[in-house]
Symmetry: C2
Subunit: 275 residues, 2 copies
């Protein structure tokens, strides 16, 4: 198959720019791999939308990457992973890795007391994606899930160490603290930006699981297992495509990626919709 | 012209549900008028997106209403009014009323010291829509504008009297307080939900202008002037259409409208896009 070539890029898509925290992880674990990123910034966010709308958008996003001849697709959005992964796998031959299973497995490896907390968007939590994935592997684990919708705009606004962010974190994490969790899955790619305040509020003894970083490890193993990992000593090429470039895009993207984007192109929504 | 019929409904569109605060105002001022509302909840929010994307979406939204034979369109979204009103007026014969001019005029009538504050989304503020509209009428007025992007998610989350909302309001409104404004335009249809905390932080002596309420007065005058105001003693019929119905939709809609929606229908995005 054409896409099963070592030198082909990895495709990564997200509802917007949160997935750049996943790009950062992949870059750390797999520096030789090239990446094509698509962020659906014209329709962001997905986390407060319905399942049917998210499935429709995720299929269009994956289709854009598939046409770029990627060897693997990472769904770098927990909401799209929670809702659309099965649909995507039905349609594409290209291997597709989401955020949920890697995050669930990493948390299971970490927990001692078998009580795991999960935070995510409204839609990820209401679909119980993580508790299903965890209890599929170990049904004795108690999973406590909590939607934290304000964490996304707070991360995008850069209110990383603002007292208001701490107050909101205290409100959201109260329940999880009372449940005595020892492991907490950051089930949204925006949340690693707020991990210091989350750690402070939930307590130092709770282990935080970054689902994007867990997914990068799984991608590494997958590529090695299939013999399509890129071992060149060159550094991979990065291309970023988005459906909208709002005013503060570069500033926010830099906060998530930790550096400037090398190549950015706006894609017309018509191209995504295949009109 | 077909649409110039007294009994035809008024069309109102918004990026999502913020425009329901405008429906509430129109209902108060013009209880006999029927309303067809379209909320683009599949692509909400507009306030953090680029001008070109907002213009594309606003034309599609207006087109949906035009096909329903409305006698007037209210752009119940400050961002779309700021960016797309001129484009809409070029295309449609139907009269179109936005949020900016009515809000600007109401503030000019109110200010004594000629220093007006404006708060709105990132895109409304960066387009300087209100300061241009105000200074077009009176160039001696000083206009101080400030983007408050977190107010939208805070209002949707219902954190109306939460201490975190007050902290964020203090941060955003600091500059406006220092500038000694005596009038403040709530330049986003979500903001009336937070008007108590905004009033508390900005000070009791500052007059708040609700742009949606100002627009309703203008609609009233327009319809009377053209002889197409509906004076029936019946109460108008209300139809609400949205492009997505996420899980918490009804709960949030009720917060904005003050009551349950009478008639709600999901419109497929294909219909909006005319595919």
């Amino acid at each position: 198959m054409n896409f099963m070539n070592k030198s082909n890029p990895i495709g990564i898509f997200d509802s917007g720019i949160g997935g750049l925290t996943v790009v950062k992880s992949v870059n750390t674990f797999l520096p030789s791999e090239s990446i094509i990123y698509f962020g659906d910034t014209a329709r962001v966010p997905y986390g407060s939308k319905s399942n049917s709308t998210i499935i429709e958008y995720a299929l269009q996003d994956a289709n854009f990457l598939a046409k770029k001849n990627v060897k693997l697709i990472i769904v770098a959005c927990n909401t799209a992973s929670a809702v659309a992964l099965d649909e995507l796998k039905k349609i594409y031959e290209i291997p597709i890795i989401g955020m949920i299973n890697p995050g669930a497995k990493a948390a299971i490896n970490e927990t001692k007391n078998k009580i795991i907390g999960v935070i995510g968007t409204e839609t990820t939590i209401s679909n119980k994606a993580y508790s299903k994935a965890i209890n599929n592997i170990d049904k004795d684990i108690k999973v406590v899930e909590k939607a934290c919708p304000l964490f996304v705009p707070l991360a995008e606004e850069g209110l990383i160490d603002h007292p208001a962010t701490k107050l909101i974190a205290e409100e959201y994490l109260k329940e999880l603290r009372n449940e005595n969790i020892d492991t907490l899955i950051l089930g949204c790619t925006h949340y690693p930006i707020l991990k210091e305040v989350i750690q402070e509020v939930i307590g130092k003894n709770v282990k935080l699981i970054d689902s994007g970083s867990a997914a990068s490890t799984e991608v590494d193993e997958y590529l090695m297992g299939r013999g399509i990992k890129n071992y060149q000593h060159n550094i991979g090429k990065y291309e970023y495509y988005v459906s909208d470039v709002p005013k503060k895009f570069n500033e926010i993207a830099k906060r998530f990626l930790g550096k400037e984007l090398e190549f950015l192109e706006k894609v017309e929504l018509e191209e995504i919709l295949n009109i």
